[in-house]
């Protein structure tokens, strides 16, 4: 435990000293990045020790704050979430030490490092605090730190707007969480998690708590329809911050939901239903919106919505399994959820870092302006390819393992006796297959248009990024490959958190790993054979082409030899059939301006997939609220004596009420 507290202290101290040394760029970088890295290593050590030994750690401060104690605890669930946090924060700091270099003169990097360190520290506190009050304080610190990180380019209007939307979204969520903890504490009389766990809540109360938690945590996680801040905030933030936010911070919402499951069980069937429905909607809409985006980082942000949807599906399946006394589905669902949390942290972190490398080298993330980067940036391209394959859930990499488990959970749902389960399982497996196909379309588009072909505009890269940016990408890529290839070795690490979640539910004891490991070994066998066949074929072609003529010529142009790189298919045209087919769901817009003169010159075509939830629901909604509230403006006239009158009136009102109440 002392290592974690030391780690948090390192984050705070190094962050502050980085701010102090702002004027000395090298010292600032060393303190900021070095502090994050040192603190992360210390934290990683504790997290692995808890996860492997299975013994939870506790720490109580000897001083009290109002309404609760200051106590931290690391159990298996916390430790499990701490691991991707510290890995990504470590790699992100290393990456940023090069990524931010060209900004050293223009921006205040000391502030950036302060908030980066604070963000990591606050997320560690969120994961370890075992008192509701401390949790909500850490949660708020996390929101504020990430708000300031999103505001990195504060002189840009778009960034300010993005940060503003994020701040509002996160505080609406926090309001629900405040209600969540207050209601829970009013039942038990204490904000401590221990008291929640010991108390048996009536089903109505735990249902209410679940609903509040779902909105509060869901707005952080990015469930549709609370996802609006993601596609705004991720593109605005620096890439390593987007990686940390998308890879880990949105998972704090998932952690919150899992922690509530642990504390407020036993589960109720409708929780599972709600999570499965949210999962299907978020998954399909997320990937559909991602598909139509023109900006790589916006695309990745929507794809996070999709993956959060998949995690929600997994949790829903787990809960439904538990409620239907089916330990197999319960195990598979929660295993898939936990594994996908880690998997998504790794491949989405990798993809955001790759997007940052593209931005760094080519100065744009507009997909339709790029092309052919694989030649100038071979290292980034290969890492991005690994990330793309992994996020599509294709075999050999980690995404496949979690999707496999989810498919299995759904399949056993089909077989279960309950006919409601049959229907749910059929719907969610079909959705999952659809999401898989759409994700493939989305990431072949992203990779294909950015890295393959010829450059589509003058904005192109001339060199690959340096070692400090490559190492984090390759570290994450290898983690993806290790989990994919050796899943049967990795999955036992999930047992600790799983038994914690399952223990709150009396329905049954989850199945042992013995059932699962032959399947995972089968996957590994298939993957090994796949790699072997690839190597064999490479050798075969090498032998065949030895001593033969291997020449190069331009791409076959079907007889039209005057083509420029502009005739290439762009990312938008590549996905046009899909976005057009699903336009009723994704609200994609296409405008074609026709020049009807005899020799038409000026045809223009625009396609856009705006975020319908933001444009059609939130903005009009907030406008309405603003309109109504502006009618109350007269209350706040700026005259102090009127305000004093308000205070007096309130006091009298309370006194009268108290007087009547006493009677």
């Amino acid at each position: 435990m002392i290592f974690l507290i030391a780690g948090i202290l390192i984050f705070v101290l190094c962050g502050i000293s980085a701010l102090v040394f702002t004027s000395k760029p090298i010292a600032c970088k060393l303190l900021g990045a070095g502090g994050t890295m040192a603190g992360s290593l210390a934290g990683l050590f504790v997290a692995f020790r808890v996860l492997i030994s299975g013994i939870p750690l506790y720490w109580h401060a000897s001083w009290q704050m109002p309404f609760g104690s200051v106590s931290l605890s690391i159990d298996a669930l916390s430790a499990f979430f701490l691991i991707p946090l510290f890995i990504l924060s470590f790699l992100g700091a290393l990456y940023a030490s090069e990524y931010l270099d060209h900004d050293a003169a223009a921006r205040n990097l000391g502030l950036h490092w302060l908030f980066y360190n604070f963000l990591v520290a606050s997320m560690a506190l969120v994961l370890t605090s075992s008192s509701g009050l401390l949790f909500i304080m850490a949660w708020e610190m996390m929101s504020l730190a990430s708000f300031f990180l999103v505001l990195y380019k504060h002189d840009d209007k778009g960034s300010r707007e993005a940060a503003w939307i994020y701040l509002i979204a996160t505080h609406i969520g926090a309001a629900f969480l405040l209600a969540f903890f207050i209601i829970a504490a009013s039942q038990t009389g204490s904000f401590d998690f221990d008291s929640f766990a010991k108390h048996s809540f009536p089903p109505a109360v735990s249902g209410l708590l679940f609903a509040l938690g779902l909105v509060g945590f869901g707005s952080k996680a990015g469930f549709v329809p609370f996802h609006v801040w993601l596609p705004k905030a991720h593109p605005a933030a620096p890439s390593h911050v987007s990686a940390l936010m998308s890879g880990v911070m949105i998972k704090m919402g998932i952690y919150g939901i899992m922690r509530s499951l642990v504390l407020f069980g036993p589960f109720q069937e409708w929780w599972g239903l709600v999570l499965v429905s949210i999962g299907c909607v978020s998954g399909i809409l997320g990937v559909l919106l991602a598909l139509g985006q023109h900006d790589l980082k916006r695309l990745l942000a929507f794809s996070s919505v999709e993956n959060i949807g998949i995690i929600s599906l997994c949790m829903g399946a787990g809960i439904l399994g538990a409620c239907n006394n089916n330990p197999l589905i319960e195990t598979l669902g929660f295993f898939a959820a936990l594994l996908h949390v880690v998997n998504h942290a790794f491949f989405k972190g990798l993809l955001f870092l790759g997007a940052g490398a593209v931005l760094h080298a080519a100065h744009t993330t507009q997909i339709d302006k790029l092309g052919g980067l694989i030649k100038k940036m071979p290292f980034t391209a290969f890492a991005f390819l690994i990330g793309s394959v992994a996020i599509c859930g294709l075999p050999v990499l980690n995404g496949f393992v979690s999707e496999f488990m989810l498919y299995m959970a759904g399949f056993f749902g089909l077989q279960s006796q309950a006919s409601s389960m049959f229907l749910i399982a059929a719907v969610f497996m079909t959705s999952l297959a659809l999401i898989g196909g759409l994700a493939t379309a989305c990431f072949t588009k992203a990779f294909g248009s950015i890295f393959l072909g010829e450059p589509r505009s003058q904005q192109t890269a001339h060199h690959d990024v340096g070692l400090c940016m490559r190492i984090p990408m390759y570290a994450l890529a290898s983690l993806c490959a290790i989990i994919g290839l050796f899943s049967w070795l990795v999955v036992p690490m999930l047992c600790g958190p799983l038994s914690l979640i399952a223990s709150s539910n009396q329905s049954g004891i989850p199945i042992t790993l013995a059932t699962l490991s032959p399947w995972l070994k089968g996957i590994s066998l298939g993957c090994a054979l796949f790699i072997a066949v690839i190597l064999l074929l490479i050798l075969l072609r090498k032998r065949l082409l030895k001593n033969r003529v291997v020449s190069s010529s331009p791409t076959w142009d079907c007889g039209f030899s005057a083509g420029t790189p502009r005739i290439q298919y762009t990312g938008s045209s590549f996905t046009q059939p899909v976005t057009n087919f699903f336009r009723k769901l994704s609200f994609s817009k296409q405008t074609l301006k026709v020049d009807s003169s005899i020799f038409p010159q000026n045809w223009t075509f625009e396609s856009d997939v705006p975020d319908a939830a933001l444009d059609k629901v939130y903005l009009p909604g907030f406008k309405l609220i603003g309109f109504v509230l502006s009618k109350l403006k007269w209350l706040q006239g700026g005259k102090v004596h009127v305000y004093v009158l308000y205070i007096v009136l309130t006091l009298i009102a309370f006194l009268t009420w108290n007087f009547l109440w006493a009677k």
Binding site: A433, T444, S449, R548, V549, T555, Q568, F574
Partner: protein, 305 residues
């Protein structure tokens, strides 16, 4: 036991050896319908052998990914051959959930073919790749639904579904079989979804994606397509076959004969139907999805007629 171990390898070996023959049967059927004599039944083997003897020409636009495309996609399909059993002999890689691996191996094969097409920078190949991913978005859920319809009373492994282990339910099997047949046509770029012999790049789907591949690379692609046709043919045939004799030899030979019949049917379909307009293809696939969903619910509803 040793014999069983060896027999498991029958399915991949048969697939790897006989797959190009199916294309020969289809082409011969089409020739007979057109009143031609037709190419030899073994023409695909000759084509592959000829291509393997050639050198290679690579576009200056392409990168290593263009070269990786054919290799990765063929490797994925080859591994899929090791997963699918023929009759009761089993397959070398068999575990609960192997179907998911099978589906996703075909997915990774497609992923790399599409990327290799985009690597050429040619608008035609981009167009083909775009259509390929669009149709596969619709075809993948249909395939899954069909497999679920066949599997859900039993076990999510190929051996149980295609090995004749589960009780035969005619309504789900037929519905799923028809639906799978449509998926087979879509996934293998056959008429009415795509025309493998069309001469206009603008109208192709699969063939246009591999326009720039030549020599040994194109041999790998041709062989890979033959294997993929074999895999889907096997699934369709075993889904529809109503009886599974106890003798392994008999079971295998019946399956192989039915595969040949299936190839003839594909040839007939290609001869008597025109290619659909691209805009109509989604409707066909959605129709197949409806059939597959019906099959799933018929199975659950106990329509084991």
């Amino acid at each position: 036991m040793g014999k069983m171990m060896l027999l498991q390898y029958l399915s991949p070996v048969l697939a790897l050896v006989c797959a190009p023959f199916l294309l020969g049967i289809i082409n011969r059927t089409k020739a007979v319908f057109a009143g031609r004599k037709g190419q030899p039944l073994l023409q695909t083997y000759f084509d592959i052998a000829k291509l393997l003897r050639k050198g290679a020409v690579y576009s200056t636009t392409t990168s290593w990914l263009f070269r990786a495309g054919p290799i990765v996609s063929l490797a994925a399909v080859v591994v899929a051959c090791f997963i699918i059993p023929i009759g009761k002999c089993g397959a070398p890689i068999s575990f609960t959930g192997d179907i998911v691996l099978f589906m996703y191996l075909l997915g990774i094969a497609r992923f790399f073919v599409v990327l290799a097409a985009l690597d050429t920078g040619s608008p035609f190949e981009g167009m083909g790749a775009s259509r390929e991913v669009f149709f596969s978005v619709l075809a993948e859920p249909v395939f899954l639904l069909c497999i679920l319809a066949l599997a859900h009373t039993h076990d999510l492994r190929f051996f149980s579904i295609l090995g004749g282990m589960s009780p035969y339910a005619i309504v789900p099997a037929l519905l799923a079989g028809i639906s799978l047949f449509v998926v087979m046509l879509a996934e293998n770029a056959r008429i009415p979804i795509d025309d493998p012999t069309t001469h206009l790049e603008l109208t192709m789907i699969h063939e246009v994606m591999v326009l720039d591949h030549g020599g040994p690379d194109f041999a790998l692609i041709t062989y890979g397509s033959a294997l993929k046709l074999w895999l889907f043919g096997l699934v369709v045939v075993r889904a529809i076959l109503p009886f599974h004799p106890a003798s392994m030899l008999l079971d295998c030979s019946i399956t192989l004969c039915t595969m040949a019949v299936c190839a003839v049917i594909v040839g007939i379909v290609e001869s008597v139907t025109a290619r659909l307009r691209l805009l109509r293809v989604p409707q066909l696939l959605i129709g197949a999805a409806a059939l597959a969903a019906l099959a799933l619910f018929a199975g659950e509803g106990g329509l084991f007629l």
